[in-house]
């Protein structure tokens, strides 16, 4: 057979051979068979020496073309096979990813503490500082310096736990006001979250609960400013459209004093069990700092004015999550706590 025809035959053979290859190993064998040191193409090229220069050039050109073709084809084929093999490997790794994960679960937030942090954060973002104080407190700080003298009926407003060391369990976070004003100069804008205690136990009262106290003291703080700050806060917690009303009330350490109601979050003001038919929920107490309190901490009431407020965290948490019995909050029953995953 003429060498040119031979070469064409090689190409045809190669094409059918490569066609039937289905793995990288066989492909390599084909590669060696045609392009290896002793491969067909190589030996054809070696035999060119016996030809005339014209023939040599002509045949050489054809042979090289076929060689290029074979190389190109092998490369493509190899890529195809590699892709297929990878796909195969990945297919074997198939896993039902809807299976439950094997990392640990996260813990559940306590609704009261979560609420406490949420409220504190709101005030921090308004520029308030966070202050704290001890829970075993002097009667002076808890009462007397807050304008609640001994033997005053206002002491009945808070049933107090008395301790064997002559101190009390603080009945509110308000003593932190006193501590802060005794150690810092105005301007003051602070909140004090913390545990407080009262001698009380029923479905809506717990002997230990949490409050947050707020205090702003500066040269020109007015009752309207108090309304503004509390409006921002209540809207942040309960939403922009929450109705708010201020009612005159009495706290010995503020004058004028107010109680703040929000529209009942359960019935939207229509009247229900939670709001006792009134459409309103009492949410916090507040007022302008009484001059007597300023005098007790050596701040001149002629120069400075301020407002203070305090609210019970449990009440907010109970409204927020519609919890009906305060005692649930301190039982730490996982069937209860597990309902509060991811609340903050």
């Amino acid at each position: 057979m003429d060498i040119k025809a031979q070469l064409l035959q090689v190409k045809t053979d190669f094409e059918s051979e490569v066609e039937s290859v289905d793995n990288l190993q066989s492909l390599n064998e084909v590669k060696v068979k045609y392009l290896g040191k002793k491969g067909i193409i190589t030996s054809v090229l070696k035999s060119l020496g016996s030809l005339s220069p014209e023939e040599r050039r002509e045949v050489g050109l054809i042979a090289n073309k076929i060689k290029d073709f074979i190389e190109e084809t092998l490369k493509t084929k190899e890529e195809n096979l590699k892709t297929r093999e990878l796909e195969e490997k990945l297919r074997k790794e198939y896993l039902d990813v809807t299976l439950p994960h094997s990392w640990h679960q996260i813990g559940y937030s306590h609704p009261v503490i979560a609420t406490l942090y949420e409220i504190t954060s709101i005030f921090i973002s308004m520029g308030f500082s966070v202050e704290s104080g001890p829970e075993v407190e002097l009667e002076d700080y808890n009462f007397t310096m807050l304008n609640i003298p001994p033997h005053h009926p206002a002491r009945d407003m808070q049933d107090t736990f008395y301790l064997n060391n002559g101190m009390v369990l603080r009945t509110h976070t308000s003593p932190v006001q006193i501590r802060t004003m005794l150690t810092k100069k105005p301007p003051i804008s602070m909140v004090a979250p913390g545990r407080v205690y009262r001698k009380d136990l029923d479905p809506t009262h717990s002997p230990m609960f949490h409050q947050i106290e707020g205090l702003v003291v500066d040269k020109d703080i007015s009752f309207r400013d108090l309304k503004g700050v509390l409006k921002i806060f209540l809207e942040a917690i309960f939403g922009k459209d929450i109705p708010i009303r201020f009612r005159p009330s009495y706290f010995p350490f503020t004058e004028p004093s107010a109680e703040v109601d929000i529209g009942c979050t359960v019935c939207k003001g229509v009247g229900c069990k939670v709001c006792k038919g009134t459409g309103w929920l009492e949410i916090l107490g507040c007022g302008m700092v009484d001059p007597e309190v300023f005098k007790a901490v050596n701040i001149d009431p002629q120069e400075y004015s301020g407002f203070a407020f305090g609210l019970g965290i449990e009440r907010i948490a109970m409204l927020k999550y519609q919890i009906t019995d305060i005692r649930l909050l301190f039982n730490n029953d996982m069937r209860f706590l597990s309902q509060f995953e991811g609340i903050g």
Binding site: L95, L99, P100, S102, W103, H104, Q105, I106, G107, Y108, S109, I113, Y117, T120, M126, G127, V130, S132, G133, P134, E135, V136, L138, H151, P153, A154, F161, Y162, L163, N164, T183, S189, R195, K199, V216, D218, I221, S222, F223, R224, D225, G228, I232, R247, P248, S249, Y250, P252, P256, A258, M288, D290, S305, F330, N331, N332, M334, R335, L337, S338
Partner: protein
């Protein structure tokens, strides 16, 4: 305070709905709700009892013939006191009472055409002893519901401690009048009483005014219906006309009164301090032992009453009383409060005295009382004495409009302010553009400063009339909230690592400590609710154990929980975090190869638990902690340790001692840790940044300082050391690290027990020189150097071949 609307109308004309009144009272400072005096019931009529016969078969029943003016009815009643001539209310057949419907019934063969009723039957009294007897002159056949005023609105008002002036119908009427502008009215009798010698002596400063009136030949009997009904509606029980009159005026005027049986008084009447140990049986039939701080009314022989608190049994008004001494007095609020608190008696009288009485009104109340007594009980006034010891001296307050604007943030009209104050009976005039007010006696405890007047103006004007504004908070007071951030970080670390947040009471029981054989903490609640909640805990452990027990009750053994809370010591507090993990690791699922193994087979162990705690410290940037021996008796002696930072113990970690687990009947595979987070001083000004607390370490820690990343690649070498079994790996690893400056990193990869007394610790060690690549030979000699160095401390150290 319960105020029936009809009583209020005695003092003002009300031209609006009761709901409007209640709402506006709420918005001006008196928390008010409306209740009703029962409700209108059809079929009640007034009747007279014409005949009473015993039931032939049932001795507890009476058969009455009653007459309504046109018809006679036969009614069976269980009341034993009925007598002919009594006028009562009949519920006719077909009447629907709150508790039952009245039908025609027979009692052992005797038919009953209705029922004679008591207040209990109307749902107005918890328990009635007898039928409700009407006045003798009551007309027959009258609608009973209308006669009793069923369905009348009663304002139920919560009065804050500063508003003693509102503890009366009159006081509430004043408020309503100020709010709505309704006209006030009052009927003050004109009596010309003679001040005559009634021997009364006041021997204490705690009596401000004592007025005594002697009235003779009174007739003690039931009060007329209108008086009784008003008292009932106000929540009091009628007793007899004399006592009812004193109660009536207490509710109406806010002035407590007391009536003594004059014939029981021996000798002179004195108001004095009691003697220690003196005794008196009070009206509630309890014998009271007095102290020298109590003020009493006494005669020459005995104590007659506790001034302002409660009367004595020995001189009380009875049906036989003929002559009385009427007391209208004012006592010191603090003195009354002390006696009332000490003896645990709070009465309508003491409650009002504690909150301040209008001392100037005493003569008016006295005259009203005398007038009522004379008209309802007859008799004649023998004389009276009014000892006004501490006359009221009204003070003056000047309030500028600028001050009002400063406090309320808004300019108010001076005329409007003047009008509001006057409407509250605070006499006010405008002088040179400022308000000048005279403090009236009825507000003497509550109003003394300009700020008090501002509150009056603001509350009557209505708080809602002030638009919100926003203060400019000074950036000068800005501080980083590092403490808050620290606690937030702590809380979030444990939450994200699978621990649930719990909140326990901070008080616990003495038994808890006794069980653990630990000293009971020093701070205790004296007036505890429960003995088991009377000790202020000094460890969070108590609460965590309680939580485990609580959840075991519902069959939940596997818990991972934490609590951040205060613990209490003699002179300070410590905020701690307690962490507890018990039973099985709760980490969802565990997959081995492609098979699922549910992780519920994996129990907590000390090293896993240690990882939780250690990573917490690391997350705060704290790495320089040491593991030292713990001596907590409730922990496993070998599976427990302390954590020290800078030589101070900041907490412990360990497995619960099996004995402790047994004592508390909980799972023994229980791991617990308690870390001291923050020192809380009680003394003002003391720093909270004490050594030995994680917060202090966190605040004081230094920032990491960048070091050049090595230029040359590390040479890795696995080295296995053979040491004695009692060598602590942690310590050895520290020593190894320090043994050569060329050690860049190392990692324990194997611990193997070779024999009874030897073990092998194998480390993968990376050597690096900052100056060049290390050759094999160099590393070999480094290893030899290390070995030599370590041998100084670990004598028998060898390399495992």
């Amino acid at each position: 305070m319960r105020v029936p609307i009809s009583w209020l109308k005695d003092f003002i004309d009300i031209n609006t709905t009761p709901e409007d009144v209640a709402n506006r009272l709420n918005l001006s400072g008196l928390e008010t709700t409306i209740t009703k005096f029962g409700y209108y019931i059809e079929g009640l009529i007034t009747v007279e009892i014409k005949d009473v016969q015993k039931h032939p078969q049932r001795e507890k029943l009476n058969i009455c013939k009653v007459y309504d003016g046109t018809e006679l009815y036969q009614v069976v009643t269980a009341d034993q006191s009925v007598k002919v001539g009594d006028k009562v209310i009949l519920a006719k057949v077909g009447t629907k009472l709150p508790s039952k419907d009245i039908n025609l019934v027979e009692f052992a063969g005797v038919k009953s055409e209705g029922m004679l009723i008591s207040l209990e039957d109307l749902g107005l009294e918890e328990k009635s002893d007898t039928l409700f007897i009407l006045d003798e002159d009551t007309s027959l056949g009258v609608d009973g519901s209308e006669l009793l005023g069923l369905g009348e609105e009663i304002f139920e008002i919560e009065i804050t401690p500063n508003r003693g002036d509102c503890l009366s119908v009159l006081g509430v009427a004043r408020e309503v009048s100020a709010i709505f502008g309704f006209k006030k009215k009052d009927n003050i009798p004109t009596l010309n009483l003679l001040e005559k010698d009634v021997t009364i002596e006041v021997l204490t400063d705690d009596c401000y005014r004592y007025c005594g009136v002697v009235i003779k030949d009174v007739k003690v009997k039931k009060s007329p219906l209108n008086i009784r009904l008003k008292l009932i509606k106000a929540g009091l029980s009628p007793i007899n006309n004399i006592v009812d009159i004193t109660n009536y005026l207490l509710i109406q005027e806010g002035q407590p009164l007391h009536a003594f049986d004059l014939d029981k008084i021996e000798g002179r009447l004195t108001v004095r301090k009691a003697e220690d140990g003196e005794r008196v049986i009070t009206l509630d039939s309890v014998e009271r032992v007095l102290s020298k701080d109590d003020v009493v009314i006494a005669d020459d022989a005995k104590v007659l009453a506790l001034a302002g608190v409660i009367g004595g049994n020995n001189s009380k008004i009875t049906d036989e009383t003929q002559n009385i001494l009427l007391e209208v007095a004012v006592f010191d609020p603090i003195s009354v409060r002390k006696t009332s608190k000490r003896l645990g008696i709070s009465t309508d009288s003491s409650y009002r005295f504690e909150r301040g009485i209008d001392i100037e009104r005493v003569p008016i109340v006295r005259d009203k009382a005398v007038d009522m007594i004379l008209s309802l009980a007859g008799g004649k006034v023998e004389g009276f004495k009014d000892l006004y010891i501490k006359p009221y001296k009204p003070s003056k307050i000047i309030l500028s409009l600028q001050k009002i604007e400063k406090v309320l943030g808004e300019k108010l009209d001076s005329k409007e302010c003047e009008g509001i104050l006057n409407s509250l009976d605070i006499p006010t005039t405008l002088v040179d553009g400022a308000l000048e007010s005279v403090v009236p006696a009825h507000r003497y405890l509550d109003i003394s400063r300009d700020i008090d007047l501002i509150e009056e103006i603001a509350r009557i004007k209505g708080y809602d009339s002030f638009e919100p504004s926003y203060p400019k908070l000074s950036t000068q007071s800005f501080t980083l909230q590092r403490e808050f951030d620290f606690f937030r970080k702590t809380r979030e670390y444990f939450l994200s690592n699978g621990f649930t947040e719990v909140v326990n009471y901070t008080f616990t029981s003495e038994e808890f400590y006794q069980k653990l054989n630990l000293p009971v903490p020093t701070i205790k609640i004296e007036n505890y609710i429960l003995k088991s909640q009377s000790v202020m805990r000094d460890t969070v452990f108590a609460g965590l154990i309680e939580t485990v027990r609580e959840n075991l009750r519902f069959g939940r053994k596997d818990l991972s929980i934490f609590e951040i809370s205060s613990t209490f010591f003699k002179d300070h507090e410590e905020i701690k975090v307690g962490i507890l993990a018990s039973g099985k690791l709760i980490n969802g699922y565990n997959y081995t190869d492609r098979e699922i193994k549910f992780s519920t087979t994996k129990e907590w162990d000390i090293l896993t638990f240690k990882g939780v705690i250690e990573n917490y410290l690391r997350s705060l940037g704290l790495f320089n902690f040491k593991i030292t021996k713990s001596d907590k008796s409730y922990l496993h002696p070998y599976l427990s340790f302390n954590i020290e930072i800078d030589g101070k113990v900041v907490g412990y970690v360990g497995k619960l001692h099996p004995k402790t687990a047994d004592q508390f009947e909980i799972h023994s595979n229980c791991y617990i840790s308690e870390l001291k987070l923050k020192y809380v001083p009680r003394i003002l000004g003391e720093s909270s940044l004490k050594d030995g607390y994680i917060y202090s370490c966190y605040i004081n820690k230094l920032n990491p300082v960048y070091r050049d990343i090595p230029k040359y690649p590390p040479v890795k070498r696995d080295i296995a050391f053979v040491v004695n079994v009692d060598v602590k790996e942690g310590e050895f690893e520290e020593d190894l690290k320090l043994a050569s400056e060329y050690i860049y990193r190392l990692r324990l990869f194997d611990v193997y027990r070779l024999s009874e007394d030897k073990k092998s610790l194998a480390y993968s060690v990376e050597f690096i020189s900052p100056h060049r690549s290390l050759s094999d030979e160099e590393v070999n000699s480094l290893v030899d150097e290390i070995l030599d160095k370590l041998k100084l401390k670990y004598n028998e150290l060898t390399l495992r071949s």
